[in-house]
Symmetry: C2
Subunit: 365 residues, 2 copies
């Protein structure tokens, strides 16, 4: 994607061919800042602190984390240590484990002196593959959006609600849920996006709005509470969200609050699509509610909010009264029955075991 | 309720017997400040700017607004002017119109020179009546909570989810949804309250948490996105919310996001109760979604957040990127079919026309 006329991915190799550079997403939308990751610990911290976030991008960053770990020591022990450290950074998204497994299965058979170069090659492939997957999701989602627009044919626009950020900032490029939206906008379909703020970290208001602004896609930020009201009043034509982990039976674990929007879509007969890159499928789990570990994050994400003052300073303020505890669950699970269909890199399929197996045969990518 | 050992209502007559004092709720939880309303315009501004908020308290403030208007001019014209100005302050809640109608029907038959004293008497009655209603709601809600606790009998506590602030700050005293919770806590039932933050104005995180803190009720603040996840995991035993307007068929208009929680409660078989003082019933409307005007408020409520810095200053910061539009709908409608029952001042009844008529016969208070 372009930022002020320059093309960026969210993660790339530095000029020295060894360090990795990222967009520091904790600084957006108030500042566009890149950061340099030189060590395994840098990569792990970037994931934990959410300088990089979004399941696909976390996977890509973890792959490069392995590369950084092997720079001085390509041994089996070091590989195992790096795997474990990176795997522990975020518990819910599954692309992280997928990418680490890919790296390990590529590197383990090789003699140690060949591992570093192979690691950088495989990490680059994982990034390129993510971009290709997202472009394909965009292509497969575009006809759905076009069809809804052709059915609607109102003079205004097609209203799409999205939650959190499943845009190019959540991936290496293009995004998952936003890829079809970018493609539709570029194809001249008058889309308008309702952007859920997505408390507590406000990735919708901070990141999705910033992305859509840069691409010129019309959008409106709303509180997470608003989507149901809009659907009751026929102001949402479809919902389109990402996924951090999808089970073999089609349950979707995504940013906390996704489930509530799926319920409202179901209650109001609004199509609810999930953009699903196959590395987000966890074939080992069936029941998402019972079996996916839900990350609990720092209460400060709820209590403290960072923004710009009128004079342009970036300041953090505390919203809540002292003495009130806070719980900060980061994800929830939307049962497959509330999902109209998955939009994957291989096409559109029902949100079910049969649907997923029909496209992927039980194997991601 | 007590604040640091001193009993307060949210609105009271000043020492001169003419001006009215309020707790300025825009300053909470960072400062406890009272404000003095001396004119009609002061009262209207206090409602519009949400120094006072909550449907019952808005009604009480409007009643005193009529008193302030008549201080210098008790004519029919002045009464009509005051009615119209106050009625226009907030469009959604119905207690406002109810209180204004009560004042007008009391005052219109009287000769002008008797109106001022009668106005202050009637405004005081409306306040006392609100307190009595809320105490009765508390008494009628207590057995429901006790029964759920006796059924559960787990060693931990009974988890109640509430949305926005329907506590004593939303009324003259006691609150609607929080009245049964205060009664249950005082009766020794180990209640724990999940406090929805309630963006954009965060009345849950700012006001409900502050109230519960002062009363010593255990509670945890959560993002508005979290309730569905908690219900899926049996961490919510009941939901209990207020109402700004309830239609004759039992649809409930309440703070935006209430509908989403009702859907999640329904999906997870969690009882969903609405604390309903009868002045919140609008007998003239059936279909809440079609017929209740939903207030749209200043986008700045979404984009700008006020809090304390580490050094204790209260500062406003902007969260969102420049150039992203914001929509700020303040209420939504929960259809009667998602409501387990109403807890009213006359007892508990089904959320239906028959239920409401059975208790009230089509007439409030």
């Amino acid at each position: 994607m372009n930022v002020d006329g320059k093309h960026y991915r969210t993660i790339w190799l530095a000029d020295d061919g060894r360090a990795v550079e990222i967009i520091d997403q904790t600084k957006l939308p108030h500042a566009f800042v890149t950061a340099r990751l030189a060590t395994l610990e840098d990569a792990a911290r970037a994931i934990t602190d959410m300088q990089v976030r979004g399941a696909p991008l976390i996977g890509a960053a973890a792959a490069y984390g392995i590369c950084l770990a092997l720079r001085d020591d390509p041994s089996d022990d070091r590989l195992a240590e790096a795997y474990d450290l990176l795997h522990a950074t975020r518990p819910t998204g599954i692309n992280l484990r997928w990418a680490l497994d890919e790296m390990r299965s590529t590197l383990t058979p090789l003699p140690p002196d060949q591992r570093l170069a192979a690691a950088y090659r495989r990490a680059a492939e994982i990034c390129d593959q993510d971009v290709a997957i997202n472009q394909a999701i965009g292509e497969h989602g575009l006809p759905l959006i076009r069809e809804l627009w052709q059915k609607k044919r109102r003079p205004d626009c097609l209203n799409i609600l999205t939650h959190c950020n499943a845009g190019w900032l959540a991936t290496v490029d293009w995004g998952t849920a936003l890829a079809p939206i970018y493609k539709a906008h570029d194809a001249g379909i008058p889309v308008h996006v309702w952007v859920d703020e997505t408390r507590p970290r406000s990735q919708g208001a901070r990141l999705t709005a910033w992305e859509l602004n840069h691409h010129g896609v019309p959008h409106t930020i709303i509180a997470d509470n608003v989507g149901g009201h809009l659907m009751q009043h026929r102001r949402v034509d479809l919902c389109l969200v990402g996924t951090d982990r999808t089970t073999a039976q089609g349950d979707v674990c995504n940013k906390i609050g996704t489930y509530l929007k799926a319920l409202a879509a179901h209650d109001n007969h609004v199509p609810f699509y999930v953009a699903l890159p196959s590395p987000s499928i966890d074939w080992t789990i069936e029941d998402g509610i019972a079996d996916i570990p839900i990350e609990q994050r720092d209460p400060a994400e709820m209590t403290d909010i960072t923004g710009r003052t009128a004079s342009g300073d970036v300041v953090t303020v505390t919203l809540t009264p002292p003495g009130s505890p806070v719980a900060n669950y980061a994800f929830d699970v939307t049962p497959a029955r509330y999902i109209t269909a998955f939009i994957t890199e291989k096409g559109v399929c029902p949100a079910s075991r049969e649907g997923l197996r029909g496209l992927f045969g039980g194997r991601s990518c």
